[in-house]
Every structure is written in C-alpha cells, then in structure tokens.
C-alpha cells in the first residue's frame, strides 16, 4: 500500500506540497514536504512529481514513473539518483498515519493525480 502518482493528470498546483508541509509543521510551509511537484523547467513546461518514501525516491514523470532505492547508485548520467540522497532533510512519507482521512495530498489534489495503490 502506498502513494501512486499520475503525472499526466498533475496541473502543478502544489496543493499536495502545501498539504504535506502542513502535516509536517502544523502550519502552512513548504520546506518539510515529502511530495514536491518539480517546477524547475518552466520554459519547457516539463513537470513531474517527486515523492520521498522510506526506502525509495519516486519520480513521477510524464513519460512514466521511476522508483529508485535511496542509497543505491543508478545510472550516473540520470537525474534523481537516489544514492545522492536527495531531499536529505525531509522526512519520508508516512501516509499521514495519524490522520483519519488518510494522506492529505490525496485529499487536496483536485484532479485525482494522486491516489492510494
């Protein structure tokens, strides 16, 4: 059981990032979130979603989902190499286990891009 992300449905609204940040900090902030829509390629409009899980880093790209085990080296040419432990300071996803309604990112995603597997 875990979070599933369909990057093609994502409209990069960042509701998931804010909701997760709220879950971490009990305030509205973005630095602690473990789910982050990737917005760095603005002119190219290339958008994906990164999720930090306990053992792995999920990169939901438009062309498909990539899952890398944190701490294990992948292709050195590729981005999001989990051996470099990206998002080091962020907690890994706990599926909002203390929230009755379940993961807040799913609650607040307007398009259903995020769901439970």
């Amino acid at each position: 059981m875990g979070i599933q992300i369909d990057a093609l449905k994502c409209i990069a609204c960042m509701a998931c990032e804010l909701a997760c940040g709220y879950h971490r900090d009990d305030a509205f902030a973005l630095l602690s979130s473990c789910i982050v829509p990737y917005r760095g390629r603005e002119k190219k409009n290339y958008v994906g979603v990164i999720l930090k899980e306990e053992d792995s880093l999920v990169a939901a790209r438009p062309e498909g989902v990539e899952i890398n085990r944190i701490g294990e080296e992948q292709d050195p040419e590729k981005e999001a190499d989990a051996s470099a432990k990206p998002m080091l300071l962020r907690e890994s996803c706990d599926l909002c286990d203390d929230v009755d309604e379940g993961p807040l990112c799913i609650t607040f995603c307007p398009t259903g891009a995020i769901s439970m597997a």
Binding site: G40, S83, L88
Partner: protein, 465 residues
C-alpha cells in the same frame, strides 16, 4: 525602548552583580558536597569534522549549556584546551582529524585529559583515541579497545557502496549497518540501572574491551529502521553484544567513546544518557573562564541591526540556492567522506533557526571584527553555492568548489555560533540556567531517579528509568 539608552557599562554592572549574588549551588553528590556549575564545552569544528558537531550544539543548547566554544585544529594544538572542561569530537574523517592535530595536538589532548578534562568522542571522534599503529592515529593510542569492524577481506556490500567502508592501511573498516540501532546501558556504576533505547549509527565503531567495567552500553538489537550494508549474519556478529559506548579513565580525567551518535537531536534518551555521563565525569575544578563580555565589542541598536541584516541576507541567499540543490543528485567524496547536497542545508538551517532569537538579543558581543568577518565568510558561502548550481547547469565538475564550500560552512557556522552563544550567555541569568541542569547531581551513585531537563527547544523533557 528605554533599555537602549542604558549605558553599556551599567548593563555590565547589573549582570555582574547578579552573578556575584548567586553562590555556587552546593549539592549532594557521591555522598559529598560539591559545587555545581555549567561546564565549559569545546566542540571540534576543524579539519576532518563533518556536520554532526551541530548535533552536539543542539542538545547542549536544549540543556541550557550555553558556555560553548568552537575549536579548530589550530586551537587544539595551542593551549585552548586549558580553558575547557569537556572536549566533544563528533563525526567526520578520523584520519583527517588525526593528521590535522598531529603529535602536538595529541600531546595537548593527553595533557587535557590527564589533568581532569573529559573527552567525548562520537563516531569519528570515538575512533581517534583508540590504539592504532596507523600513521597519524599512532600519535594517540589512549584507549586499549579493539574495533570489531576491521577486516583484511572486504565483505560483500549490500548497499551504499560509497559509505560502506574506509581504507585502513592494508585493511578496511567496514560499516555493517546504518541508521537506528538498539543499545542497552550496562547498569554499572556510576549509572545504577540498565535502560534500552535507540541511537543512530553512521560508521561509528563497535568495540571490545578487556575490562568489562569500561562498557557503558552495548549494541543489543537492530530496529525496523536499521539499514543493512552487509549480510545480516555478519552484521549481528560484528555488532550485537559488543560495546557501543565505553568509558576509560586516564589520569584525573576520562574519555567517553560513543559508536552511535548519542548526540543526534532526534534521540532524546540517548541525549540524556550522554548528558548524564558528561555531568558525572566532567572535572569538578573550575576551568577558569572570563566573563563573556571581557575584551569584547558590544553591538547594540542600529549597528547590531545592520550586522544581523547583512548576515541574514547572505544566509537567506545561500539557503535559497541550497533548497534547490537539495533535489539534485549531486554528491562529492572529500577525503574519505561522502557529502550530499542536503548536508549544505544542515549547516544553513542550524544557523537560520537561531536567527530569530539572535535578532531579539539586546546586545551582541563580538571579538575584534568578528561581525565583519562573519558577513564576509557568509558571502563566500553564497558565492560557492551559486557556483555549484552553475557548475551543475553547465555539467562542469564541482568537487573543488564543494570542498571549499564545506570548509566555509564549518567556519561560518562555528563563527556565528561562537557569537550567538557568547551573547546568549551574557544575557542569561546563570542561576536560572544552573537550576535546569542541577538534577543529575542530586542522584546518589547507583540510583537513576527522576530526571528533568528543560531545554530551550523543549524536546528534551523527561527521562525516567
């Protein structure tokens, strides 16, 4: 607003008279009356130190132990250890630390301990004083313990290959597991009862000793967070039942060597144990320290605001780039340590989280032109981080810049924290701080009683055994 019109000399007189009116607390300890005071703690931040010394800072601040100083290899080689009660050496590159301290540093350290000082070594700091014939380490040889993770034939790595082993002459030191492991304290004097809790292991030593009374805590089990870097059976054989923490007497002083990072801020029971042990074995003779304000420039009003704004500007600039770098798969091997981009933020967040309270201090105490130096160093940090981002964008090599950057981060952090704690100490009523950490010395030997710490971040609360 009227306070700003008080003369600095009036403020200093007021603080001094507060201190004079407070007699040192006299407490029952070990069946004797003894004076109680806040320890002066030196934290090693020089060559070979990584970022984990910041964890020592965090827990000491929570305990109210504001009398901190930050020592480089140059300080250790000179006479700086005469002024501290405790020296804390955390994680990093043991060989780099040993080389940087050299024979002179080793001699100073030996003198410090034999005169009554307490050495706290965690992870790399734990390896440093262990008996060894290897170059640079052979200047130390203070503790006749053996490590159980030394091998001539490297086992198969199951993950994190770049962090799994370190060369040790013709042999290797391998790291069987990482992350949280379970430890159990021995229950031997001075700590009366045994307790089991978790602490994180990031390459520190599992040890064996000839004298069982030296063992303060043992590795007893793995947790569901433990990451295995070797076969589980090998990990069990290497760790379980062996010493996680040892206590060794040397002259009038002691060494406490911690394999796991008992100073990691997320492990409060381990923090409390470390603090307890430290308070027990720290020297009871006062290490003479000057009043924090002696020889200092005192910044107030607009001068203080300008300084803080200039520093905060660069810290913010650095932090913004670092937050973006955090997502990138960059890492560097500097010496024998692997550094990830996220470690940049570890330093910056440690400073950023303290800026707000720093801004609220009435006065800031700086030595000579420390304020200008801090701002300049922070500016260099910003430039270096931006260079790394540019290097990434242009697919250029960033190792040289990263090496410089981590050096600068250590320097900037140590410099800021020196000013921060000096100013904090100046503003703190020593009696109030003393009251917070008074409790451990009320225990009789062999009895763990109720212990309460109230730290300024509120995360160390109670430990009841």
């Amino acid at each position: 607003m009227g306070i700003f019109w008080l003369k600095i000399s009036e403020i200093k007189t007021q603080i001094r008279s507060n201190r004079a009116s407070q007699q040192p607390k006299k407490m029952e300890s070990r069946g004797q009356e003894t004076e109680f005071r806040i320890p002066k703690i030196g934290i090693y931040t020089g060559k070979g130190a990584s970022h984990s010394w910041l964890w020592f800072v965090e827990i000491f601040e929570r305990l109210g132990f504001y009398n901190l100083c930050f020592l480089t290899e140059f300080d250790l080689v000179s006479d700086s250890l005469e002024k501290v009660d405790v020296l804390a050496v955390s994680g990093g590159d043991t060989f780099a630390i040993a080389e940087a301290l050299g024979p002179q540093g080793a001699r100073q350290l030996k003198t410090f301990i034999t005169r009554g000082g307490l050495y706290l070594g965690s992870c790399a700091g734990a390896y440093l004083p262990l008996n060894s014939s290897k170059e640079h380490l052979n200047h130390f040889n203070f503790v006749p313990a053996k490590i159980t993770n030394l091998t001539k034939t490297l086992p198969e790595a199951h993950g994190m290959r770049e962090k799994f082993c370190t060369c040790y002459g013709c042999s290797f030191i391998f790291h069987a597991v990482r992350e949280a492991v379970e430890v159990t304290t021995s229950g031997l004097p001075p700590f009366g009862e045994s307790a089991t809790f978790t602490a994180p292991l990031y390459g520190g030593p599992p040890m064996t000793v000839t004298n069982p009374a030296s063992v303060m805590a043992t590795y007893t089990a793995f947790t569901d967070k433990t990451l295995f870097l070797v076969d589980r059976k090998l990990a069990e054989n290497t760790l379980l039942g062996n010493a996680a923490v040892i206590r060794e007497k040397m002259g009038h002083g002691h060494l406490h060597l911690y394999g796991p990072h008992f100073e990691h801020p997320h492990f409060s029971k381990a923090n409390l144990f470390l603090a307890d042990a430290m308070m027990w074995d720290m020297p009871h003779q006062t290490a003479q320290t000057a009043n924090p304000e002696d020889g200092m420039n005192i910044l107030s009003g607009s001068e203080k605001q300008r300084f803080i704004r200039d520093f905060k500007r660069e810290l913010s600039n650095s932090r913004i780039v670092a937050a973006g770098l955090e997502m990138l798969p960059l890492k560097w091997t500097i010496g024998s340590k692997v550094y990830e981009t996220g470690k940049i933020r570890v330093f910056l967040e440690a400073l950023w989280q303290r800026i707000r309270s720093f801004e609220k201090e009435r006065l800031i105490l700086v030595r000579a032109d420390q304020n200008d130096l801090l701002v300049q160093t922070a500016l260099h940090v910003t430039k270096s981080i931006r260079q790394i981002k540019k290097g990434w964008d242009q697919k250029a090599d960033t190792l040289k810049t990263a090496t410089l950057l981590f050096n600068l981060l250590n320097k900037t952090s140590a410099l800021f924290l020196e000013i921060y704690f000096r100013s904090k100490l100046f503003h703190t009523d020593s009696a109030e701080v003393g009251a917070r950490c008074i409790v451990p010395l009320l225990r009789r030997p062999g009895q763990f009683g109720k212990i309460e710490y109230e730290g300024s971040y509120g995360q160390i609360k109670k430990m009841v055994a």
